[in-house]
Symmetry: C2
Subunit: 497 residues, 2 copies
């Protein structure tokens, strides 16, 4: 049985995409990361007021086996999920630790994994969940690192290099901006730092997704997918349409309604683009190598767009939908371990709830589509509607302008010792920093044929030239930062009581 | 009758000095600033969580009469007092507005003046006063400026130059660090950014004060003052000692106790050093020009250390104390409007209460003396004792390491477009940024014979060459920043709803 199944959040008014998971449930099939110890650190619920006095524990993972005096601390700014999940999918940091004789710390983001400020009460109301804010998370990390160095003085002379992917990459960029005294430099991998209202074209996300399919299968392929939405819609309206669809997709339980089908399919297509890695992964569900690409291995039912043509039909539905559904299931079941397609989530998913709350507070992320340039259903994005939906669901209204103000929006000319890396075919690159004119003091890396923060993953024999080159450049930059840092003066302040 | 009398906060365990006022009551005799309109702006109580939903109004003053399109917004980051007080004592900004065709905004700091989040309940307990935090104040300012530009689009192309003196200077430095997207550059005048535990020698404050008296009256003068403390102490222990002292100082009411006398005298000596301006001012009480300096006008009783020698004695107390008290009163009464020395505060002083709270939260400021290099009573500073006193008084314990972490402590090599100016004889310069090696990207200005942020005051015929030179350099730097800013791209993000 495959555990990394899909979670669909059917939201009538707006979609809310978890940056990392894109509505995919995470953290169930975790590859154990290299040797580490699991610790925790006590933090204030609120670093920015003396109103609440509550404290809670943040989990972090520590690996010092490769560290030598003066070597860096490679620090992962945890994002929306349990920290083991990121440690298990960020092998590049462990490889760097070896090359740079560094220690590795992965810090869990508050309100995710085991770092819940109020246990299972953490999401009850604004008094509890209202502190799920990136500023507070960054303050957690800054304190953790400082207190770690103060408690382990041998690390006082160790520059901290920060890493993060996706929302974690945003956090790394902001960490370096906000705490240059704590962070010597950072790699913000696939960080959609400009995902906020007014900063980017909201159609970008689905446009880049579409481009990934065009590169894999050509214009003909995306034009076929574009027709799927209305075809499915027509079937749903017919008597028994929904159960016919369920049969075609080989679902374990029937689809509950038509919107569910459409969202489910859309999510999966996006996920394939995000996880379009050159080798099989289980990061965003079990997926084969290059899941989007039309392989030349025509006999193999794993290939996706090609499968739309070759899959045998049953004759009940339109041939296009039958082929699509068949291809869908064959990719979903590429390991041939399942007899049916499951969309039930086995356990309550705190992670996606956390991210939804974040989008309703400061992480509002407009995503829309026009169905012309992109291959998806046309869909607008309206800030008032979104705000109302947040009010209805959680009793809060987002502060949509705040994150841009807090982290400098597109005004990042003062950024230094920061790398923004993006995969060219990663949907989230639509909101990333893609050229040097925006950030002359930063390093911009674009990874051809790259999916969502591929560079953070451990080396693999199938790695492309593009990602190998990117990792070499990253290593070079980080080495330079470490040398620079050691030439500068960086006093550490620890109070003795 | 003179209104700018002294306020003494007798704290048995620790002294807590308001940076600006040094325990002097402010804001009662205010020179009206140039034409401005008084507005208010609604802010969140808490910018960094969605816990509380409370909002309140911040007062700001706006003057646009000199502004021309593209001209800057000169912005004062209000500190611990009513905003009119700062507007009335920061004439330099209005002069710059004329030269640079700029607008002027003075924003009041939350919990001071009329910007009380909960009216007269603002200081009742941590749920109310706990948001009196510099981070929140800076967020207030960032939002105010952005929303001001969004509501008045003609200012979109106006770079913001920030100004502040003392704690306001700290805020300006941090404002530029935290919001380079909002602030094009800043003048942090007499900003003791390193006043936090562990960052500076706690004896510095009284040492620089002593130096100001040595420059004014020579070593002999400071050595005489150094003896005063034990002489007063001896008198207090005698029968009728306290009333004899009260008579010598010509107090309106008797001194309540010996500690009160010592604190009162010490405060006054420090205040003279802080306000040792080349002309008479009423900023920190009514004071003549160069109050610390021993003038050559021997016949005039205003002069201070000289007066200690010349003042006629009554024979009741030791001659030194009698002379000291007489000189004290003659300086206090230099306008010859008073018949007795008043230390009653006419109204409740919210301002000093606010600052005391700040020192018990994140603005902890160790000040000590050894009575050897300095001329004051020897006094240690113990963090645990201080923390306990905060717990006793307000039910909170300071987070002493936090401000250093939040605003980069001595690790400010990434600072750009920031001026740190300090008067050489200003007690607070002990905690300031005094040389370029600490902040190679910033501009360091030291003003010889300069007291507490003299450079921020309006021009005066008595101004020294040193302060004139400083102001020219500041103008030159700011002009350059404005030119640079106009050459760069600085998009403004405004949501339309």
């Amino acid at each position: 049985m495959r555990l990394n199944c899909l979670l669909i959040l059917v939201l009538t008014v707006q979609i809310s995409l978890s940056i990392l998971s894109h509505r995919i449930r995470l953290g169930e099939k975790i590859k154990p990361p290299p040797n580490y110890e699991k610790n925790s650190f006590t933090e204030f619920l609120d670093h920015f007021s003396f109103g609440p006095s509550h404290k809670f524990n943040i989990t972090y993972l520590l690996s010092t086996e490769k560290w030598k005096p003066g070597g860096p601390i490679l620090f992962y700014t945890g994002n929306e999920g349990s920290i083991e999940h990121f440690a298990g999918n960020t092998g590049f940091m462990f490889e760097l630790a070896e090359k740079l004789t560094g220690a590795v710390i992965f810090a869990e983001h508050r309100y995710y994994g085991t770092s819940l400020p109020f246990g299972n009460q953490s999401f009850t109301d604004r008094k509890h969940f209202g502190y799920l804010i990136a500023e507070q998370a960054l303050a957690d990390y800054a304190k953790l690192l400082t207190d770690f160095k103060c408690a382990n003085r041998k690390f006082a002379n160790s520059p901290v290099i920060s890493f993060g992917g996706s929302y974690g990459g945003m956090l790394t960029a902001w960490f370096r901006q906000s705490f240059p005294n704590v962070v010597a430099g950072g790699l913000a991998a696939s960080a959609p730092v400009w995902l906020f209202p007014g900063m980017s074209d909201c159609r970008g996300f689905f446009q880049v997704t579409t481009r990934a399919y065009q590169q894999g299968g050509g214009l003909q392929c995306t034009s076929e997918i574009r027709q799927i939405w209305s075809l499915i819609d027509e079937i749903v309206k017919k008597p028994n349409g929904l159960s016919d669809l369920s049969r075609a997709f080989k679902t374990c339980k029937p689809f509950p309604n038509g919107d569910f089908v459409l969202d489910f399919v859309e999510d999966y297509l996006v996920t394939l683009a995000m996880a379009n890695y050159p080798y099989s992964t289980s990061f965003l569900g079990e997926l084969p190598a290059w899941p989007v690409k039309v392989y030349l291995i025509t006999s193999h039912s794993l290939e996706f767009c090609k499968a739309m043509v070759n899959c045998p039909t049953q004759g009940k539905l339109s041939p296009q939908v039958e082929k699509f559904a068949c291809a869908f299931f064959s990719l979903y079941n590429y390991k041939q371990e399942d007899t049916c397609l499951s969309f039930d989530s086995g356990s309550e998913n705190l992670d996606s709830r956390g991210w939804e709350l974040q989008t309703c507070m400061e992480m509002t992320n407009p995503i829309c589509s026009d169905g012309k340039i992109d291959m998806f259903r046309p869909r607008g994005w309206d800030p008032i509607e979104f705000s109302n939906s947040c009010q209805d669901r959680f009793g809060i209204r987002p502060r949509m302008n705040w994150a841009g103000l807090q982290w400098w929006a597109k005004d990042i000319t003062t950024d230094t010792r920061l790398i923004f890396s993006n995969g060219d075919l990663d949907p989230w690159s639509a909101f990333g920093v893609l050229n040097e004119t925006s950030a002359p003091g930063a390093t911009i890396i674009r990874i051809g044929r790259g999916a969502h923060h591929l560079d953070l993953r451990g080396s693999h024999p199938n790695d492309t030239v593009e990602v190998r080159t990117a990792r070499s450049l990253i290593l070079e930059k980080i080495s330079n930062w470490i040398d620079e840092w050691h030439r500068e003066s960086h006093p550490l302040y620890c109070l003795e009581f």
